[in-house]
Each structure stands twice: as C-alpha cells, then as structure tokens.
Amino acid sequence: MEDREIVALYWDRSEAAVAETQARYGPYCLAIARRILGSGEDAEECVNDVWLAAWNSIPPHRPACLSAYLGKLARRTAVSRLERSGAAKRGGGEAALSIEELSECVPGRWSVEGALEGQRLSEAISDYLRGLPDVKRRVFLHRYWYARPVREIAARFGFSETKVANMLSRTRKGLRRYLEQEDLYHG
C-alpha cells in the first residue's frame, strides 16, 4: 500500500492504518529504536508507542513523507525512553556513544538553559548540514541520526573506520564553529 493510502486510512480513522504502517515500516522503526536503546524488548515497546503516537497525530498532521515522519517519531520516542531509563548515562549503546561524541559540538559558553528552542536549533543544524559536501553530510547523519556504528558506516561506504572517524570529528568541530559564529545561543 502506498504511503498516501496509509495516511488516508489514518484520516478515515481506520484501524487498518496501524496494521498497514506496521507491515511497511515496522522493521524500519524497530531498527531505529533498537540502535538507540540497545535492548530489543525496549525497542519493541518503543515502536508500539510510535504507532500510538502516529494514530494520535494523524490527523491533524498529513505527512508528505510518511517514512521520515515515522522515523522521527521512532527516534524521538526512543531518545525519550533512553533519557527516562538513564541508559545514556550508564553508557553502552550506540546512541550513548554518539551523544558523548557530540559534546565536541557544544559551544563553549552554551548551557542547556540558554540553548535555543529545539526547533530553531534543528533548523540551524539543517542549514549547516546542507552546506556540507554530500559525503560528510550523509556520514554525519548515519552516525548521529541513525546512531549507526562507525564500523557499519565505514563498511557500507567503502571507507576505513579511521577515515569515517576523522570525517566525523571534523564535521563535529565545524558544527561547533557554525553554532558559535552564528551566535545561535543565548550564553
């Protein structure tokens, strides 16, 4: 079934919408949740939350791209669950490693309290990523959006792990400079 038809089912409040979504995007959302949470059981619970969130948010939303919409829901839900469980602080998962790496992006005078509202920060990061060469942007997103291990990214794209790690390091530093130069924080 096409995405548009699935969205139409949601708008018709047909329960078939959830079944169709599970059939088409279940493995995709599960993979995202599993990479962030580490645990398969947690990931499955997380994905159930995603279906509920989709049911509750469509309508009013009518996503133009259902995969990205569900992927974001899955990631958001998984991160929220990760935060609640404190697993990120205990370390171990790929997401926890990713988060630790991202500390290099935090501008010096930044603080959570002073940080931009999430949406503006996301827009700023999107702008920065759009300005990157394709390769760097994609590698960055596979590491920090999908929380894929460096090893997997390197294997997939035919790079050495060192090269991917260096590329990520430079991109992180570039993002930090961008956030500082654009003064995108209230220090």
Binding site: P27, Y28, V79, I99, L102, A115, S122, D134, F157, G158
Partner: protein, 356 residues
C-alpha cells in the same frame, strides 16, 4: 552530556529531505567522493599517467591502442593513443542518441526505505554477485580506459523468513584520473520501489534511442559544472539495471550500453502484459532534488503487479481515475519500459480492463 543530548535531539528533527538523501545513499551503498578529493587525485593521476606513458609507451607499441569513434582516426592504424576517450574496439555507435531531460530531479524515495538486518547480510565476491544477477559487464571491450574500481563490497540480504529481500549491488568502473566513470547498479528485489527517474514534469515528451534492438530512454543528468552525466534504466535477464556514466561523451556512454545490452532479434511487435492494479495515483507530485522539496503538477498513473512478477507503472494522464485497486488489466505497449517498470504515454498501445 546534557548539552550534547540536546544537540542529539535537535539532530533528530533535521529536515526530512536530508534524511531521505542519506537513506538513499545508504541504499546505493556508495558515496561520491567530493570534487575536492577528486581534483587532487586527478592531478596526481595525470602526473603518474604522463610519467608512465613516457617510460612505458615505447615498450608497448605492439599493443593496439583504442580507436576513438569521435576523432575518426581509423586510418592511423591504431598508432596513436587516444587517451581522452573510452574507445571500443569494434562496437558501432548508434546514430543520434536522444538524451531526455530529467526535469523532476532525482527522486529519493521513501519507498526505498526498509530495514536491512546486519545478521542477514551474505557477503559475496564480485564474481558471485555477477552470477547472482546472471550478468556480464564486458567493460574492457566497450571502454578500455575504464577499470573496475577496487574495494567494492558485494552481497545480498537474505533470511529464512523473507528470502533474498535486498540485493542492490553496485559495480563501478573509472578511468585512472577518476574523471570518467560508469556505475552499474543491479537489483532483482523490490523493483516496485520508485526509481530515481519516476518523477518527470512531462513524461509525454520522452524519446527513445534504439541500441542493439532495444528502445531505451536515455537521460541527461549533467549539472552546471560542465561534467556530462548520463543515465538509463532497463530490465535484462530478470534484473533491473541502472547505468550512470559520468565524464563520458554521449557516444562513449552509448557504446557502453551497446556492450551491456544483449542483442535483441525479436520483431518489433507490441508487448502485452497482464496484471492487477495495485495503486491508482492521480495527484502524486512531491520530490526532493537534494536541496529542497518540490511539489509538481499532477501525474496520473496506475501501478500494476504483473502476473509474471515485478511491477509496472503506466502513465495515464487524465485517465488514471478510470481504474481502481484490484482491477485486472491487460497493457499493450511498444518498445521497452521507458525506465525500469514505467510505460510512458507515447509507447502505450492501450489498457483494457478484464470484462470490458
């Protein structure tokens, strides 16, 4: 940790288009090297090439150099090297290839996103991968300047439950300088997924080029950087072939296709296929061009699940609404599907519903 977590969360909300692009690149399994990197490699390779030619050329004069179809130097008897072209030994260049403009941009389709489980990955050698597709890539004949790139990774995703569910493999060839390249991607799975050339502003204007008896639709994807880039798709031997040539002349690209396509000897009768309507779309039209989302005018088409396997998209401007999901139909068309699994209006003989 909290600050970096804020950034991690913010990254999660980046623009959809960036995600689709990243996912599509993951599916293709290969990222283009940056132009910056290529420039340096090209410069270094040029020096090496000149040095190597100076040292070795006198020793290798007995080897017939390639003949360029562009420069018409056949009378030279192969005495002069033609390093600027991918020259074939004896493949005729088809007359007047037509390159269609792909005005809709490359389409990074959400339909191409699905879970690939690492534990299902079955690595293969290049030869095994080619066997999997029953494909041959006789590039040395068509474009001796191009060499298979080293370091390629080949394999398929297969599980007991899903069978072989993902088998896209890329075979890449490039010249020593990296300025010219051919990428052949093959797949037999999920051919129903939208192809890169699904979105066009005006599919009615597509013109085919006849190569080895095939009526192929060729696309010109050249950007503003002056580097020619050509693209086509076709079905052969049960696999979908996606062929991209970069830095090659039009003739060189066509010669490569001549080598890849088996000769067709069948008479030019219209083809007939039967299937079931899987989807009707009379208003589809958003795509991402690498920078931003665009919303196009309506594109009417129906998607079929063919009785013989695979799928087919049939463009039916203004008529798609006559059909409904589940309808049994027979489609008659001439030539090849315009792109993998697409019948464009100019080649459509007709669509008949069962019982009508």
């Amino acid at each position: 940790m909290d600050d970096s977590k804020t950034i991690f969360q913010a990254i999660g909300e980046v623009d959809d288009g960036l995600l689709l692009d990243a996912e599509a690149a993951w599916e293709r399994g290969a990222l283009r090297r940056s132009a910056h990197w290529l420039r340096w490699v090209a410069v270094a390779a040029c020096f090496l090439l000149v040095a190597a030619a100076a040292v070795y050329w006198p020793l290798n004069r007995e080897v017939p150099p390639p003949v360029s179809a562009d420069t018409s130097t056949a009378d030279d008897g192969g005495e002069q090297p033609d390093s600027g072209t991918c020259a074939p030994a004896d493949l005729p260049a088809p007359v007047d290839p037509v390159f269609n403009e792909l005005t809709g941009g490359l389409y990074t389709a959400p339909g191409g996103i699905y879970a690939l489980l690492a534990e299902d990955y079955v690595p293969m050698t290049r030869a095994e991968a080619l066997d999997h597709f029953g494909a041959k890539l006789p590039m040395e004949e068509a474009a001796p300047e191009l060499r298979q790139e080293s370091g390629g990774e080949y394999g398929v995703y297969r599980s007991g439950e899903r069978g072989c569910y993902y088998d896209v493999n890329c075979f890449r060839f490039s010249s020593e300088t990296g300025e010219k390249s051919i990428t052949v991607s093959l797949r037999t799975t999920l051919i129903m997924a939208p192809s890169p050339s699904e979105v066009r502003s005006n599919p009615e204007t597509l013109e085919p080029t006849r190569i080895n008896g095939w009526d192929l639709i060729l696309f010109d994807l050249s950007g503003g950087n002056g580097v020619p880039r050509y693209y086509t798709e076709f079905f052969q031997g049960g696999a979908a072939w996606y062929v991209t040539g970069q830095g090659l002349t039009a003739d060189e690209f066509v010669r490569v296709l001549s080598a890849l396509l088996e000769e067709k000897t069948a008479a030019d009768g219209p083809a007939t296929v039967t299937g079931t309507v899987a989807a009707v779309d009379s208003r589809y039209g958003d795509y991402f061009d690498g920078q931003e989302h665009h919303y196009t005018e309506s594109h009417d088409y129906i998607k079929l699940e063919l009785d013989q396997g695979g799928g087919l998209t049939v463009w039916l401007p203004g008529e798609a609404d006559r059909y409904a999901k589940g309808d049994r139909v027979t489609v008659t068309y001439t030539g090849e599907p315009a792109t993998v699994g697409h019948i464009w209006p100019g080649q459509l003989g007709g669509v008949a519903k069962a019982g009508e």
